[in-house]
């Protein structure tokens, strides 16, 4: 009998793709794919540590992409959802995908396919939300700074959007939950990690890290937000459905509500 193996990788997407490569290459009977900081040995399986190899990861990436563009984005998006044991589900998905000839594996009556598609959709929604809910504040050293706390790890996904849009200003978007950010220095975007003592979410107290006119514009924006409301159509349920409360603390127009 083929002994099943648990693959342990470093938690990065490339690491995961390498694990998939190794599994296919060595025809491993995979019991599970786990991140190294949360790995658990199974009773009847061995474990093998995977060292991230960009070349191998790239081959898997291209292999999936050649089958279907839709599939590779589904895999990447679903991976970023950080859902527990998503790796094994993705592995099954990739296996099924590779078995098809056409690559058009869109069997929504299959539980794995549907679930991956739904996960990817969730992450896509969060990405779109972050493109909307980032609120830059201008610091004294002329950097537009924003804190976010997204449900999923969407920073790699939104970087292009912001780079294309704010090409002529320096900006920094920092994920407070995952403790890293992306910084654009008018040339390219890089990953940074800061030691933020003071997380700059909405406080009515003014911080002197920000440019003096920053609070004037926030006040204008808050006024604008209030005056566009039509009182006779009030619908709080719809409002919170569109702007869920967990995002409020970083939205300056919600400053008073928090």
């Amino acid at each position: 009998m083929n002994v099943s193996t648990t693959l342990v990788y470093d938690g990065s997407f490339n690491g995961f793709l390498t694990a998939v490569f190794v599994a296919f290459d060595e025809k491993i009977n995979v019991a599970d794919i786990q991140k190294n900081n949360q790995s658990q040995n199974g009773l009847f399986s061995e474990s093998e540590t995977i060292f991230t190899n960009i070349e191998k990861a790239k081959r898997v990436w291209n292999g999936i992409r050649n089958k279907s563009h839709n599939a590779i984005s589904n895999v990447y998006f679903a991976f970023l959802s950080e859902t527990e044991s998503v790796e094994m589900m993705l592995y099954t998905y990739i296996q099924k995908l590779m078995r098809t000839k056409s690559g058009k594996y869109l069997d929504y009556s299959d539980a794995t396919v549907l679930h991956i598609a739904q996960l990817a959709r969730k992450v896509g929604r969060e990405k779109h939300r972050m493109e909307a809910f980032v609120r830059f504040q201008l610091t004294k050293d002329n950097i537009y700074f924003a804190n976010i706390e997204p449900d999923f790890d969407v920073l790699p996904l939104i970087s292009k959007h912001f780079r294309d849009r704010y090409a002529d200003q320096k900006w920094l978007i920092y994920d407070v939950k995952r403790n890293y950010g992306i910084y654009y220095d008018l040339d390219h975007v890089e990953m940074v990690s800061l030691n933020l003592k003071d997380i700059h979410h909405n406080k009515t107290v003014k911080s002197n890290a920000f440019a003096p006119e920053e609070y004037e514009y926030q006040a204008l924006w808050n006024d604008y937000f209030k005056s566009t409301n039509i009182a006779s159509r009030i619908n709080p349920k719809l409002h919170t459905q569109h702007v869920p409360k967990r995002y409020w603390k970083y939205l300056s127009e919600k400053k008073e509500a928090v």
Partner: protein, 420 residues
């Protein structure tokens, strides 16, 4: 910048602009050029939502609320006693740029009361857009209001800078227009629309030959109609909307439940309820026409001049046309699938892809996201269970209403009260 004065003006002029429903920022493909500021997102982004649940995507303001007209439905009408203000061109530009840089908005929606003359007003609107594009290298979204009666030359120029242009016809019928806005002629509204439409067609055909042809209003035109102000039927509204979609290639027609803003014997009194449910049903109909392959005569006609408020227009069409049903989801074509109540276009798409692999049963359909509470009466699938009873339209409607709850239910259920 004098922030206090700007604040005052913004409050007045944003408040006056809020009755314009359109806040779309989608449909434009403008990209960032020369490392400038902004790019348009094809699908549009709603940056926040007001307490009434409407999206805030653009900085929607009037240039001024001084107006020489006296249209009964309008809050900035000449005879209405409200505070008046006007922005300078540079002030609007600064506000837009600074809001945009902070990721508050997708762009600018600039409308205006008509001061002096339509041309004079339109010229100012164009000046703002021109300044944003040429001096600030701003590539975000700009939606300009075409002022009724503006000249062709100005409308042409507007399209060069704006992503979308719109004229609100507001009153769907010509007789209603005579009653509520006697100073305006129907042609004043349609003339700018016609001009912009022709230019868009011309630019698109030129682009086929010369790829570098500049953009001309890439997000097209839209218009808006007030619902429930002049006593028109749903049929009047939707036939009129269809006319604008067809004749002027409108991207969108918006329906705005009339919010009473002035005392006028021709209009609903202040404090009367905004017809939100009706508005909702009209939008549903609009979607059926644009995406589901329905034609207007099927939904609204002389026998049925108004939409059913209790159930959505698709269900109500299905109940009138039971002879099309039940439909077999495993074999029916796309058009027919789209006509089953409870199945939306996303589900149609998934069903068509999934049924190539296996026959679908109730379980699959539920997981795909079909609203079975409605769909079950109109379809069969790979299961021995289906609705075998010979139900008539009223029975089906009753059962659906009984087993579901709508957010507007309290508005149309008239339960008899025991004690009065």
């Amino acid at each position: 910048m004098n922030f206090d004065r700007i604040r005052e003006k913004l409050n007045i002029l944003a408040d006056a602009a809020k009755y314009d429903v359109s806040c779309a920022s989608s449909g434009s493909n403008r990209t960032n050029k020369d490392k400038g500021l902004g790019n348009a997102s094809k699908m549009g982004i709603c940056h926040t939502y007001t307490a009434d649940g409407r999206c805030v995507s653009l900085l929607k303001i009037l240039l001024t609320n001084h107006c020489i007209f006296d249209c009964a439905y309008c809050v900035t009408r000449k005879s209405n006693d409200v505070q008046r203000a006007a922005f300078k061109v540079q002030e609007v530009v600064d506000l837009t740029i600074n809001f945009y840089r902070r990721n508050y908005i997708e762009g600018l929606f600039l409308s205006s009361g008509i001061f002096k003359s339509p041309d004079h007003t339109m010229e100012r609107l164009v000046a703002v857009a021109k300044k944003l594009r040429e001096e600030e290298n701003f590539n975000g979204y700009i939606h300009l209001k075409s002022i009724p009666g503006a000249s062709d030359e100005l409308m042409y120029e507007a399209g060069l800078y704006a992503d979308r242009l719109s004229v609100n016809i507001e009153v769907p019928t010509i007789s209603g227009l005579k009653l509520l806005a006697p100073e305006k002629k129907h042609e004043d509204f349609t003339k700018p629309m016609e001009k912009v439409k022709n230019e868009i067609v011309r630019y698109n055909s030129e682009r086929k030959i010369i790829r570098s042809t500049p953009k001309y209003a890439p997000a097209g035109q839209s218009t808006q109609m007030i619902v429930g102000a002049s006593g028109e039927s749903d049929k009047d509204i939707m036939y009129s909307a269809t006319y604008y979609y067809k004749t002027y290639n409108m991207k969108r027609v918006y329906y705005s439940g009339y919010v009473p803003v002035t005392h006028d014997s021709r209009l609903p009194a202040i404090g009367s309820q905004v017809p939100m449910l009706r508005e909702n049903r009209l939008y549903q109909t609009d979607w059926l026409l644009r995406f589901y392959g329905f034609s207007i005569g099927e939904i609204l006609n002389n026998q049925h001049p108004n939409l059913d408020m209790e159930v959505d227009p698709k269900l109500s069409w299905a109940l009138r046309n039971l002879h099309y049903f039940p439909v077999d989801v495993n074999s029916a074509d796309k058009n027919l699938l789209a006509r089953i109540p409870g199945i939306g276009m996303r589900s149609v798409d998934k069903i068509i892809k999934a049924r190539k692999f296996r026959k679908l049963n109730w379980d699959h359909l539920k997981k795909i996201g079909v609203a079975l509470n409605r769909a079950q009466y109109f379809m069969v699938c790979d299961s021995r269970l289906w609705e075998r009873r010979d139900l008539d339209a009223d029975k089906i409607k009753g059962m659906i209403l009984q087993n579901s709850s709508g957010k507007f239910r309290n508005q149309y259920i008239t339960q008899l009260s025991l004690f009065n």
